[in-house]
């Protein structure tokens, strides 16, 4: 054991042989204390947002530390169990309503201890995905979805997959960067159905030639 004493260990810098100091549980403990203190003073209901659920914890590792297959299975199965659908049973709504939502990135932000009020939470899509080929003001953190419906069709299976992917992306891609928009209560099932229609509906700008 190389790192019996503190100072030689630090002198070795950040070498892998020193991975034992400070050990991971202690790092987590002290970091969690810092996080709690950093948000102290905010209303409890807002502070709760910073508390991780079990899946967020599993998904918080550096990219170099892959999930084991059991862990990945745990994340996907809890995501699948989280699915909720619109009471109408219709998983694809109105693409024009979806169009309003996909480029709206506001909602649930906190300033000076209060939630910034908006009419409805936006679906944030174009922050990360290209959708309408004419819209160039789009991000690329996620894959481009231009021509999505033209490419994949609009079968019930495609619609269900698209709905579930938006509701809780981790059901298909455990620990994906994509937020679990439905599961986290950020979008309602009805809103998600409208968002689904936007890439899937063949009349939508997403599928124009």
């Amino acid at each position: 054991m190389i790192c019996k004493k503190l100072l030689p260990c630090i002198a070795l810098g950040l070498a892998a042989s020193c991975a034992t100091f400070p050990d991971a549980p202690n790092v987590a403990l002290s970091a969690e204390e810092m996080i709690e203190a950093a948000y102290a003073g905010a209303p409890d209901v807002l502070v709760k947002r910073a508390v991780q659920d079990a899946d967020q914890k599993l998904c918080s590792r550096p990219a170099s530390e892959k999930l084991s297959s059991e862990e990945a299975e745990r994340v996907t199965s809890s995501a699948k169990a989280s699915m909720r659908y619109p009471s109408s049973g219709k998983l694809a709504g109105d693409w024009k309503a979806g169009e309003q939502l996909v480029s709206n990135a506001a909602g649930m932000r906190i300033r000076d201890g209060r939630i910034e009020q908006v009419n409805e939470n936006g679906a944030l899509c174009v922050n990360c995905h290209a959708l309408d080929p004419k819209d160039l003001n789009v991000g690329n953190l996620g894959p481009a979805l231009t021509g999505y419906g033209a490419q994949h069709g609009n079968s019930d299976a495609v619609i269900k997959y698209t709905y579930e992917k938006i509701y809780n992306a981790w059901a298909y891609y455990p620990c994906s960067n994509m937020p679990r928009l439905g599961h986290n209560g950020y979008l309602t099932p009805e809103q998600i159905a409208h968002v689904v229609a936007y890439p899937v509906d063949l009349q939508s700008p997403v599928n124009r030639k």
Binding site: L6, F21, M34, R111
Partner: protein
């Protein structure tokens, strides 16, 4: 801030009230951080990592950088760990790339931010990311913010300092 409070007689509340300027009123703290930062211009970033507490803070910063939380499941790494990524047209620095960390830290903050029409500090940059992540207001100079800054600054060692920067 420790010197300002212990030796000069400022209160923590006064400092925090004045932490970020507005269009109506500049912030003394933003001015002070810019002045002090610019005094290292031309030198290389050289953050020490000799004391156990420094290393503990660095490791906590690494943990926080990857920690996903909030209604959008974001961590710092969600947006800042891949090459060539953007939110809409805004390019995102990849903070896992040593060269980019050097540029962001040694020539980035404090910076004049065009969208804010004033000079902002790293404390404000972290506060603003935290706001986008839908988390509660990040405490000014909180240990959490210092841990994240330690993690980033140490990894920027070797970068040539040129401050203040200019950012969107």
């Amino acid at each position: 801030m420790t010197c300002m409070i212990d030796l000069q007689g400022f209160t923590r509340e006064d400092i925090i009230r004045d932490r970020f300027g507005s269009l109506d009123k500049d912030s003394d703290m933003e001015a002070l951080v810019s002045f002090i930062g610019s005094k290292s211009n031309g030198m290389r970033m050289n953050v020490p990592m000799r004391h156990a507490k420094e290393y503990e803070r660095y490791k906590a910063g690494e943990y926080i950088f990857h920690r996903r939380a909030g209604p959008l499941d974001f961590s710092c790494a969600t947006c800042h760990s891949e090459e060539g990524k953007r939110i809409r047209l805004q390019e995102l620095p990849n903070m896992t790339d040593p060269k980019q960390v050097q540029i962001v830290i040694s020539t980035g903050w404090p910076a004049y931010r065009g969208t804010q029409a004033t000079v902002r500090t790293m404390q404000h940059r972290l506060y603003d990311c935290n706001w986008q992540m839908r988390l509660p207001d990040l405490g000014y100079a909180s240990d959490m913010s210092v841990a994240l800054t330690s993690y980033l600054n140490y990894r920027a060692n070797g970068g040539v300092i040129q401050l203040p920067g200019v950012r969107r």
